[in-house]
Each structure stands twice: as C-alpha cells, then as structure tokens.
C-alpha cells in the first residue's frame, strides 16, 4: 500500500515538474493515396478529427499533406495531389474553419497556452491521458 502511494506520488511529481516536450512542432495529418476512391465506394474515411488540439510554443503548427491522386479540401485549404499546407499558430485561442471533410462542415483547432506551472502541466498530462484512454 505504502509502495503504491510512493509510486503515485512519484508519477504525480514527474507529471507536474517535468517539462513537456515534443519531437516536432508540427502536428501532421495526411490524406493517404486512394482516399477519394474509398470515399466514392461508400467508405466514410475520417482522417482529420473535427477538433485538433495544439500547444503554443511546443506543438503549434498544423501540417496537412495530400498524398491522394485528386485535389482535396483538407481543413481550410484546397490542396493539389502531392501538395502540403503548413499553418502556424501564434495565439492561444479556438479557431473555426469551414471544412468539407466533416459532416458538420466545420473544423476546430484549439491552441492551448503552454503549460508553464506544475499544476498546468499536471492538468495537461492528465487530460491527455484521459483522452487517449477514451479513444482507445
């Protein structure tokens, strides 16, 4: 029991104090080759989530890439085959984009402020863990 408590304390301490790092500032989404053909055959392919969460200063660039053989509207941009669209964000806010890839016709990009305090880091990591579990 005491050991479990010590582990929990250590994990909480790490989550609160360890700086948050990403290997890249880019959050990449790709439209794979053949997506259009799959959609045409009735497969409702979902590539871009209706809400994307970024973190200012850490992962604050949305990178969209069209690897399909036809033009695709992906988020706010119409991209030709082989083209990419790199959109940086400099202000923490919620951004709405018209997007034909979604049934709602809307895509939201939420850019969160960089978690600077131990409490903010702890909350950020806990939220991320909870979301990862939820979507598993």
């Amino acid at each position: 029991m005491a050991a479990a408590g010590a582990v929990l304390l250590a994990v909480t301490g790490w989550a609160a104090l360890a700086p948050i790092r990403f290997d890249s500032r880019e959050e990449l989404f790709e439209i794979p080759k053949g997506t259009w053909a799959r959609r045409m055959s009735g497969d409702p392919v979902e590539i871009l989530p209706s809400e994307i969460r970024l973190v200012l200063g850490l992962r604050d660039v949305l990178l969209l890439r069209n690897l399909d053989d036809v033009p695709q509207t992906f988020g706010p941009a119409l991209m030709m085959p082989g083209q990419s669209f790199r959109l940086p964000f400099e202000v923490a806010s919620s951004y709405q984009f018209a997007c034909t890839a979604h049934a709602s016709g809307q895509m939201t990009v939420v850019v969160e402020p960089k978690p600077e305090t131990p409490w903010a880091r702890l909350r950020w990591r806990a939220t991320r863990l909870w979301k990862a579990q939820r979507w598993r």
């Binding site: 706010p76 119409l78 030709m80 669209f85 959109l87 034909t100």
Partner: protein, 193 residues
C-alpha cells in the same frame, strides 16, 4: 587539384544554400508547398474593366471572398487590408487587393466599387454570373452558402485570404483574424523585401 577545388566549391555552395533555406523567415500565413499557379478567372471588375488575376502579375495579390452586405467578417477583413496597405507605405502600391463576391444577386460592379471605396479606392471587386462565381470558388476551395434571415438572406462563406506572389503562384492562405502586421510581414517577404 583542380577537381578537388571544384568539389570544395560545390560543397560550400550546397552548405550555403541549405543555411539560407534554414534561415528563411517563415510566413505568418499557412503556406502551400509546392506552390501552384493561382487559377485565373475572368470576371466583371468593379473598376469597369475585365478582372483577371494576370492583370496584377508583378504585384502581390490578396484575394478575398465576401459580399457587400456582410455584417461582420468582410468589414474586418477589408479594414485589415486597408491598414496593411497603409503600413506598407511606398510598398503598398505593390499589393493589390482583389475581392470576389459570393452574392452576385446583389453585388453588381457599381455597388462593389462604392463599397470598396469606403476602405481603399485601389481595391478591385469582381462579380459575374452565378456559374462564373461557382467556378472561381471551386478552383480555390471556397465555401459559400445562402442562409435565410428575417431580413432576407445572408451568405455564410469562407473567410481566409489567399496570398498570391508576383509570379502568380498561390503561396499562402491567411486565416481570418490575423492583424495587419502579419499581412505586412508576409507581403514584404513575398515582395522579396
């Protein structure tokens, strides 16, 4: 010896090129890579002439879509672009704002000219038949949907602004809400200044 010298020069040249690419300041707008040619169109211009993008080769073009009865988004966008031109001072002459209507029922060339003159007399509007405008929107991935309101109708439309470089290439897309300073930054980069 001579071959070695050539090899060294090649390596140095490649390294310098890589460094230049790494140091290249990024645009504030979203960037297309590789850029494609901006689809040209032929519309009725608010200045009375045929409106074609190729008219503005040599300038940076800010291409926006909207309508003159727009209550909120368009006035902000056009106000920001007016401020951008002012802040660019002498370089402002190298920025052309082109505003294509999504409401051809109400926006004729005269109405667009009067409306745009409230912001900047150099701004040029484009109108045409519904089919012509549908084709332009499709080429740029612009959405526009008529919405019934108690006063009649409004048009919900994409609010991002395309930036087209001097060579007529579609380089970037600035999402709605960016301040004039971001446009100034990007226009200067696209002008190569």
């Amino acid at each position: 010896m001579r071959r070695a010298l050539v090899l060294v020069l090649l390596v140095l040249s490649a390294a310098a090129g890589a460094a230049r690419a790494a140091d290249a300041p990024a645009l504030k707008a979203g960037v297309f890579s590789p850029p494609r040619s901006a689809p040209d169109f032929s519309l009725r211009g608010s200045d009375g002439a045929e409106l074609k993008l190729s008219r503005y080769r040599g300038k940076v073009v800010a291409l926006a879509f909207g309508f003159t009865s727009c209550p909120d988004v368009c006035p902000v966008t056009l106000g920001t672009l007016r401020e951008t031109r002012k802040k660019l001072v002498a370089e402002g002459k190298d920025l052309q704002v082109v505003y294509v209507t999504v409401d051809p029922e109400r926006d004729d060339a005269e109405r667009m000219r009067t409306y745009l003159a409230n912001f900047d007399a150099t701004f040029v509007g484009g109108t045409g038949t519904a089919e012509q405008l549908d084709a332009v929107r499709a080429a740029y991935g612009i959405l526009a949907e008529k919405v019934t309101t108690p006063a009649g109708y409004s048009v919900a439309h994409s609010s991002s602004i395309y930036l087209i470089d001097r060579e007529g290439r579609l380089r970037a897309l600035m999402p709605y809400g960016h301040p004039a300073d971001d446009f100034v930054h990007d226009v200067k980069l696209l002008l190569g200044k």
